[in-house]
Subunit: 129 residues, 4 copies
DNA sequence: GTGGTCTAGACCACC
DNA sequence: GTGGTCTAGACCACT
């Protein structure tokens, strides 16, 4: 359920954030669900507690999770999708980069579109809710 | 033509690589074209020759450019689109990440698809060769 | 244990790579072993950290070692001997060159074969695993 | 007959030297044969005359070819195989390196030995003359 | 502590 | 002229 690759170039704390977001969007983690504590999580994925803490703090800053003192950390009930112009530009730029990489890897436009549709389905049609 | 942002979080050498790939894919740089020498480029974008060199070497490793000893660096004549399974998985993973980020940024599926189509048109020559 | 010749024509970073491969193949370095940090190694062999870093990165690219962010560099657990057709051709070409050089140096075929056998014994564990 | 790769990492002048030695050892070039002039050769392989000249000079220094003023350059009649201790050590070191590379490429000892025998045959049994 | 990136400047071999 | 290698030292993010 929660796989982290310490060999990856992407920082561990970032991998945690991404995984968390994915689990939420897929509906595996639902609003109100309790998350493992920092200590539990760090021993689960064999990482430094500081690293897990950093990820949790960032997720809280983004509003995906909430920490209730003495009770634990929970998935937020309402996730507000904020239209951050800067963030949107970043995503667009990343998409452009993927298109370029895909070209050099010999992947067709149609293939990418197919993947996109598959992912949307996998994400419980998050985009159409 | 060649803009680099030294303040960006993405390393300069990576920015060069991306820019180069984009110029090749758009047809601004054609097979056989001579690239600016390491020294020229470094003074153009105000960066260290080593940084430019690093970018050039990576581009050569990927097969996009070739260096002829003592003569300079040139855009490769044959860019073989090799179907590297590992690379494809990586791209797919990146696409998945973008879809997730897009959702949280409140970007619609249709919007992303529109962007993709626009980019595809922009790179039209290359993609439909 | 780790001798480098700064006067040699072969670059220092390449000497490090070769030495490392030899130590791995001889079993002196075992899978999972921690390598000296870039700084340690650079002071050990009296070279610049950048030079050591370059060697480590190449070894990682080849899959012999792995770097765990913030923790250090380690000998890979699974070194997959991938049958890269291009690499094999390169080795064959190098062997051809050696045979030619050996002829002009007055070395007999039998002598070369003897050397090969000796080396094979030296690397025995690795070769017959 | 005479192929040079300007993209290769090995210098062009060295490629010429190696090719020449190979042609001699194979018996394609026989003692007394006339070589193309520097100018001819340079236009043949599309290289700078200086580069060809450098190769010829080195080959002459090694005793493989001889220049007769006003007549041209010829393959030497007697090639003395000199037993240079330093050279021999170098070759042995190169052989060791190949054995290591071969291991990581998944090539067996037997395969290498077979290649060696094939090459010896190809070289008109130079080693057994 | 670790490796990743970068600058400033140097020397070398090759063409 | 070109790129390849190297040093000395710096800053940064990650663990």
């Amino acid at each position: 359920m929660f796989e982290i690759d310490p060999r990856s170039a992407t920082p561990i704390y970032e991998q945690i954030i991404k995984k968390m977001k994915e689990l939420c969007i897929k509906g595996v983690l639902k609003p109100g669900d309790k998350l493992p504590s920092v200590r539990e999580m760090s021993s689960m994925i064999i990482a430094n507690p500081n690293t897990v803490s950093k990820a949790y703090k960032e997720l809280e800053r983004e509003g995906l999770i909430e920490t209730l003192r003495g009770r634990g950390t929970f998935v937020s009930k309402m996730v507000q999708k904020k239209l951050d112009e800067e963030k949107i530009e970043m995503i667009k730029e990343e998409l452009r980069q993927i298109m370029i990489d895909a070209f050099y890897a010999g992947i067709s436009f149609e293939q990418i579109y197919q993947w996109m549709k598959d992912m949307n389905n996998e994400f419980a049609n998050a985009f159409h809710k």
